[in-house]
């Protein structure tokens, strides 16, 4: 049908346009990362810093509010920062700050914001909008949900990863992430548009169920956010190495790249927050998949290669979440588990769908 073909090619063009926008934004973020002020990239907080928090206090009195530098708390227990006496500072009573604006570290907001980074962020939003258009057009071309094969799935995963980055960027200062998230996104889309591309077509009967809206959306959301968490974990490892080397007085080597990143503790917290969002979603995806499998194949769990690797991925990420709170595993060891989890997820996606014959061989490649 000509209408379908029109939508199909519109979708393809929009995808290319969004890739161009993402690539340019990536360059912008990279330039800002290299040459911009560090304060524009992230909250500047160093170990032991004491940062005043603006709080609206009771009118008649002086307000004494203090907050110890959040860098020194690992966030895993009711602990008091060692060595820091939680200096309090006197502040005038002021309006209750909005989200983000008055949060710890906002003192650097005084200078003019990095134009380059803001342009890159704006470009990312444009790319994101065009990307959404591409996905919607694809849905019209195929007369169904636009996540029925690997090409479409990849496009959606990249969209979720960009969305996760944008949400993080709105909530806290994470522009340092821009280049590092957009690089895999562009590669992912490139791979999808070349190797995995298939024209729009109806679904095979096994996929023709409302569960595709539940199970696959959950899998896409989890995969996209795990992708962001994987990026942050890698940056954490780089930064942790940098901090160790600096502390030991040794040359930083490649890790010098990390000197503009937030502290390892902050990166660790961000990665945990992203993973702690993605993990329940992944759990839900696996459970929903099991319910669907029960309806489609007559058993909820059969150790099909896809099920097996999803289980492995789940177990490794569960290990990561546990390791983060276990003495002797915190920090780098836990981070390696997180990366292993992401590797398992990629094996689950590419190798199982393409290389292994199983019930999830829907790539159409």
């Amino acid at each position: 049908m000509p209408a379908d073909a029109t939508f199909g090619s519109l979708s393809n063009h929009l995808l290319v346009a969004s890739m161009v926008a993402y690539s340019l934004a990536m360059l912008g973020f990279a330039a800002e990362f290299s040459f911009g002020r560090r304060s524009a990239l992230t909250r500047v907080l160093d170990r032991g810093d004491s940062v005043p928090v603006r709080v609206a206090g009771p009118a008649p009195a002086r307000v004494l509010v203090g907050s110890a530098g959040s860098e020194s708390r690992s966030g895993s227990g009711f602990e008091v920062p060692a060595g820091s006496s939680g200096a309090t500072s006197t502040l005038p009573a002021g309006p209750l700050p909005g989200r983000g604006a008055g949060r710890p570290g906002s003192e650097d907001a005084a200078g003019p914001p990095g134009r380059l980074g803001q342009a890159a962020l704006a470009l990312t939003v444009v790319g994101w909008a065009v990307h959404v258009g591409s996905v919607v057009a694809r849905g019209f071309a195929a007369h169904r949900v636009p996540w029925g094969n690997m090409y479409e799935f990849s496009s959606m995963v990249a969209l979720v990863a960009v969305t996760a980055f944008l949400v993080l960027a709105v909530r806290e200062r994470v522009r340092y992430l821009g280049a590092f998230v957009l690089l895999p996104v562009v590669l992912y889309l490139g791979l999808a548009g070349t190797v995995l591309y298939v024209p729009a077509a109806p679904l095979v009967p096994a996929l023709n169920s409302y569960w595709i809206k539940i199970h696959v959306v959950a899998a896409i959301t989890a995969t996209g956010t795990f992708m962001v968490s994987g990026v942050v974990i890698m940056l954490f490892l780089l930064r942790a190495r940098y901090e160790d080397r600096v502390a030991a007085g040794r040359p930083a080597g490649v890790a010098a790249l990390a000197h503009r990143l937030p502290s390892a503790a902050a990166l660790d917290r961000t990665s945990y927050r992203v993973t702690a969002f993605a993990f329940p979603v992944w759990t839900f995806a696996v459970i929903a998949g099991a319910i669907w499998a029960e309806a489609a194949w007559g058993r909820y769990w059969g150790w099909d290669p896809k099920e097996t690797w999803s289980f492995i991925t789940w177990v490794v990420y569960a290990g990561y979440l546990h390791a983060r709170t276990t003495a002797g595993w915190k920090g780098r060891r836990a981070a390696y588990l997180g990366l292993l989890g992401f590797a398992a997820l990629m094996v689950d996606y590419y190798w199982i769908n393409i290389g292994v014959s199983g019930l999830h061989s829907y790539s159409g490649v």
Binding site: V65, R103, P104, W303
Partner: protein, 545 residues
Amino acid sequence: MTELTTERELTTERERVAGGLSTQPSPPPPAPRRRRQPLAAARNAWRQLTSMRTALLLLFLLALAAVPGAALPQRGLNPVQVADYFAAHPRLAPVLDRFSLFDVFAAPWFAAVYLLLFVSLVGCLGPRIRLHARALRARPPAAPQHLERLPHTAGWETEAAPQAAVAAARALLRRRRWRTDVRAEAGGGASLGAEKGYLRETGNLLFHVALVGLLVGVAMGGLFGYKGTRLLVAGDEASGSFTNTVTQYDDFHPGRLFSGSRLAPFAFVLDRFTASYQPSGEARQFIADVRYLPSAQGAGGRWRPYRLQVNHPLTVDGASVYLIGHGYAVHVTVRGADGRVALDQPVPFLPKDQNFTSVGAIKVPDARPAQLGFSGFLTPTTVATPSGLASAYPGLRVPRLTLLAYRGDLGLDSGRPQSVYQLSTGGLRRIQSKTLAPGQTWRLPGGGSLTFAGIDQWITVQVGSDPGNTPALAASGAILLGLVLSLRVRRRRLWVRAVPASDGGTAGRTVVSVGGLARTDTDAFAEEFAELVAALGRSADNPHH
């Protein structure tokens, strides 16, 4: 998973540092040394097993142990691929097989890993549940001596009396569902301890208990369930109907503790099967129109129609019927050399590729004077290729049946089992081969004939019942709920202390100090703390508000 030991020790350690804030009892003193050796060793082993490090190691081993299950073909999933693997790697495969690597998920070592993991889990869940139950009943901790050492602090002065200031704070916090506890302090002051976020640990425990529940559900299915498959030819009275008894199955897998009385004797008949394909040959839709008779209806009951599709199983009498496969059956009429009809029925052929090139065998033991056998293949959309006839599309566009005829002894009486899709050619002599279109009759040299009457469709259905389904689903829901609670809820503590101002010129005034501590996500708590302090300040000045 077994966060208990390490987490608790860490917490108490930290809380000692923070000024003895523990709500939990300090860990029991180490057992006296003079215990008998074996007992001590056993206790030590148990402590090791239930430690977090062991649990992490087991978790990691479990993931590792599952890898060969995906990387190598598995007998339970695809015995044909396993056979292919043996053929391709004649030396390696038997070695792998010795370690159960083709039956990973039934292997003793795999069971050992997950059972150890669950023992470790249960071993630490018990004490942990006790501790949490105690914490739920305990009073929130008393305010530490030095509130200003806490990570989040605030303070102000007010006109209200210390007791009134603390009471106002308590009222506000209780409205916000904090658990509070007020204590009088020396020198006319008062302090308030408050805690919130117990659901985090509740969710954590729920998650881990539900994991055990899931294992129980899976085990129930394996012990009491059953599963079987049956091939049905559409529109054929004899081979298109099914009654749910063990003998009616082609293939039946009962659970270890399954008893035949669990089979409800419902019946169903396949009337019609329709498969449609996209131009590319990909499947578009499979519809099996069946009629079924629930067992309670009795033989004279009313048959109900059902449209069986891939994602729409039929549920009847507690069992589920799934459409799991389909193919073509060639309807042939075979006459022996004596001219009598020896066979007149559809014979199912097995699809071998995406375009449904199907292979099979037609065995005619009743042909006289000699038995007849045919082996060959059906091509639904026939095209000629350099290597012979092939199918270019799964639908029936140009169907052709290519057969090789044999005469002699089919070997069916020898007692040796043989496949219905293959001829055992030992006692047979080849006669001739031919490609037939529907309707054509092939007269065999030496007498007898085969008429290719038409093509029927068959489906395979899986019938089964898994009593573990509902428990497993409930456990999965609990897992998810527990997980979200344990990852989203933050446990945090807040203390308010109000003391009369020291006589520095502000006599009659009260100094209020507030301290806060959060276990996780301290950034978010900083916001909440600031907002709470603002609210507390307002309520302290206007306690009746």
